[in-house]
Symmetry: C2
Subunit: 351 residues, 2 copies
Amino acid sequence: MIRIKDIAKLSGVSVGTVDRVIHKRGKVSDTAREKVEKVLDEINYTPNLLAKTLGSNKVYSIALLVPDPGQDPYWKLTMTGLDTAKQEWRPYHMDLQPYFFELESAQSFQYAAKELMENPPDAVVCAPIFLNEALAFFEQLDQQKIPYVQFNTMIPEVKPLSFIGQDAYQSGILGASLLHLVSKNQTGNQAILHIRENVQHSVHFREKERGFREYFRKLPQSQTVSSVIIEGEDMNTFEDKLIGAIKKENIKGLYIPTSSGATLTVDVLEKNGLGHISVVGYDLLKENIVLLKSGKIDFLIHQNPSRQVFRGIYHLANHLLFKKRSPEKELFPLEVITAENVDSYLEAILH
Amino acid sequence: MIRIKDIAKLSGVSVGTVDRVIHKRGKVSDTAREKVEKVLDEINYTPNLLAKTLGSNKVYSIALLVPDPGQDPYWKLTMTGLDTAKQEWRPYHMDLQPYFFELESAQSFQYAAKELMENPPDAVVCAPIFLNEALAFFEQLDQQKIPYVQFNTMIPEVKPLSFIGQDAYQSGILGASLLHLVSKNQTGNQAILHIRENVQHSVHFREKERGFREYFRKLPQSQTVSSVIIEGEDMNTFEDKLIGAIKKENIKGLYIPTSSGATLTVDVLEKNGLGHISVVGYDLLKENIVLLKSGKIDFLIHQNPSRQVFRGIYHLANHLLFKKRSPEKELFPLEVITAENVDSYLEAILH
DNA sequence: GTGAAAGCGCTAACAA
DNA sequence: TTGTTAGCGCTTTCAC
């Protein structure tokens, strides 16, 4: 193993100078630089990262900006990722601090972002639910040269260190194919169900819908897809609207892109004797798991939110600590969950 | 952050003594020990792992004992895991060395194991394909107190630091359910296809079969499952046997638990105009991916061999370096791959 | 048994 | 612009 000391000796300068050349810091004469660079070219120097972090003796902080886990079961899952990351990075004295905002309030996003910036962290992991507010926040981070990772929702306007999430379009295609498969024997139409998505960043859901429709459009016997949109909060309205649409459009299969939508929907279906309608939902929420096991949901697609934050932290920590390069995008696999493999996912350590 | 130095000062001894107490090494007087332990009880000391590894300046070596990746596409996948692990652990000067044996020769396993032990590593990751030979090897490791992880195949007789793999029984159930789903519209029977499995550790395959049969037995209208066993090497015999069985038993769906079996099978099916038969296979082999995309295989179940070795190394490295405890078992999720999500798996970084 | 001190490879402050 | 040196927190050796 070659050390800085060795390079110094080989090039006839001191360790200080070698350090300066390697990290382009301070002033170095051209002659000295050339000597060092020559040696560097010939050998294959890899710095000892342990010594590096130990020597600089710094505590890094990474802040998380995510929806309040207490308000939504999907976002609650992200906390597992945070906890795991905390454990994993403890030896490096990495300080991980979450900041929460309300899922339905853009203002609370701003507020949380402001609080976060009161003592600026070294890096940020953020779920940019509110487009405009997120853009403003990211701009602020850019200005202060604070690196950040965006996850869950893809905002193409910014260039974070890394985006982490899934291909929403392809996710829609997958959902469509599963629904198609499972409802082959029934006659009727397919529908996509939008439940109170307006508040959340909609590109994500629009992409899912596009994929979903595309799949059925491309089928040998092209099918049309209905779209049921439920905006209000009122459960009665919800039921009326849903049942009305099902009857009117003769719907045999429902694709529900919001994690918590499936439970609401299945309740209504059961109540109205429409249990035969196929359902594809998202994510391993407790309620979804129960419904999957009892056959009331046919498939779930796993977005793995806990791993999304885990990997976000991973990339930032590697960036800060080890100057490692992160991929621009880390797209997660689109995981298909059935009654038969759901337990294997629950047992699995954050994977 | 509390340091050993602080503890020394608090308990009125030297850092050397504190070190001895913490690691139970060397001789310490009872009075000194008590003083240190008292302080240790009161504060919450977490050692700085960077300093620890840097200070001890040791290079750990982990050996891999796996089937020759050149001989089998499934095992080739494990090499990705090794490469990723190599990168990940480079800062810790972890030396990762693979040893290969032939998939069809128990003797070569012994030979490779012997070679491996010629300069004993600090830990071992092993795929115990050959039961007896593996047992002997593990015993040797136990004697020399070399920790090891077993992956892919579960041998219950030994207690490694960790077992990594999947629940084979449940995997069979999953395979059955997928086959059932996809062949619902056809009439006929289901079959499990054993291709030259005899050489590999068979518990694994037996468990898969048990799960597969169990699923169909438990169905409301219980179905029987045929079993086609092909032992020889000869492709002609293979074809005759397979086609014979399909015709005789009126088979509509085939479950093929060996990764490379699906390709052979689909070739024969196509050639004989039996493309309508449903197929569920295993793993993301190149050939399987092509067949999946073209609809000739309906589902693949992913065993994620690359991640299996990656995690094996992960546990051992943590054990050696940081004295972290590993789970006795790390069961991987049973991942369902379809034509629609296969690309998302290929793009995904080792996940 | 115990303490003092010299490393591990790097960073950063300081002196020249 | 350079070289020297004192850390970082721990391990390990050596003298007492």
